[in-house]
Symmetry: C2
Subunit: 281 residues, 2 copies
Amino acid sequence: MRVLAMLDGTLADPDRPHLRVDDLGALRGDGVFETVLVVDGKPRELGPHLDRLARSAAMLDLPAPDRAAWERVTQVVIDAWNQPGEMALKLVYTRGPEYGDGTPTGYALGLPLAAKALQERVAGVAAVTLERGFDPEVVPRAPWLLLGAKTLSYAVNMAALRHAATRGADEVIFVAADETVLEGPTSTVVAVNGATLRTPPPSSGILPGTTQAALFRAAERAGWSTKVEPITRADLANADALFLASSVRKITRVRELDGVPLPDATTRQAELNALYESEYS
Amino acid sequence: MRVLAMLDGTLADPDRPHLRVDDLGALRGDGVFETVLVVDGKPRELGPHLDRLARSAAMLDLPAPDRAAWERVTQVVIDAWNQPGEMALKLVYTRGPEYGDGTPTGYALGLPLAAKALQERVAGVAAVTLERGFDPEVVPRAPWLLLGAKTLSYAVNMAALRHAATRGADEVIFVAADETVLEGPTSTVVAVNGATLRTPPPSSGILPGTTQAALFRAAERAGWSTKVEPITRADLANADALFLASSVRKITRVRELDGVPLPDATTRQAELNALYESEYS
């Protein structure tokens, strides 16, 4: 089952074409998106997702997203989905057709969770570290690089995941030219040492994680210490446990890094996911 | 006037939607493209453009483009255009719908030349140098960065051009972290010193230029010396003249760089364009 609604709230058939070939989302990857987890009809972290959509849009000089319209279309898809359980909801916002009237394109697409994502929630992932090619010091002075914007220009992220697969891995942890840890192609890195959770700062040129933020909120309430600070490649090896946080896969343990098995973190994963879930109970 | 044909050769109305919202070209910028100049019904450098499309597709692990189909659809659009003068022909090839049968999406879109492009051919451009954030030494060891592939993930290129506009400039020359010169967002850099033409090598992580290659072929025949070698930022200032080569704008002079007017290169521009045109006469 898939449910599509255009930003004006109209339901549409996802098997039919709805985008023009000159939509700048398609021609130039010129747009932004979010993926929201919906559980039993309730969208998780919708506010932070819409905040991030607005921040990404601003970085691309797109018209500010109409928040009420995005909240409405989210509900339209949820109402039409009308099933218990989970749905992945993609919110997509592009600059619109190049030969149009300047109106951006917006739509919300409800999808079933991929089998691979469900399996990785349970089994964890094997990850490889891959160079992302930039130095974090370039971030503040080069806003045109769009580092930290969640754009539709994800070809590099997809290529990195395909490269990981050729090395027998499921996932990627990008590292910067200065060896600091960045993020996964579609996830946020969380390292655990003792009762401390750490994640790299958005100032490194990465996305602020919505799922990671929810986890950190819950963890702080439960007495954990949390730090948003640079993490080096060496820190990854020295962590008690490593996780990738993402909307759809929640808090997924890294069970192997660059071909080296990590200590079993199954119990820790259950603990962190219980913390994360406590935000919604 | 715009003319659209899908890769199977069918003409279609460009004002109607033809892409699904889950096309990976739109959702992930996951595809490749070319822009071909067509003059009086004749596509220029079609062979090199299709070679580059195939090379870009290979870098993205897309199915190899069906060359005969691309040649056919090019002719379909040219025949339907059926007007003297110039047309810009976009060839777009994506991974296809995420929830499809695995068939890539392909189409050819014939467009009139933008007024700005025509004006820049005559007046030249003011350009700014902008950091691209990577060091060329990363290129050979990080193929997942897709440096040198002409992908649909062009959000950074578009953002760089918008940034240039805020500084009163029309164009961008990207420079690498080691200060070597890369390329424009949609063009190839050519520096002239005496009777020598120079352009940076594709091994720097840039596209091999089709228009630049045509110019160099013609120039060599006419007794010029040509070099494909690294160019530094300092070399830009020391050049007799700077040009940006692109299919649609041909050989465009840079009349101002980072706010500093360059020596008048109107005559040199006419000379280089005459060389370039001699390839098609």
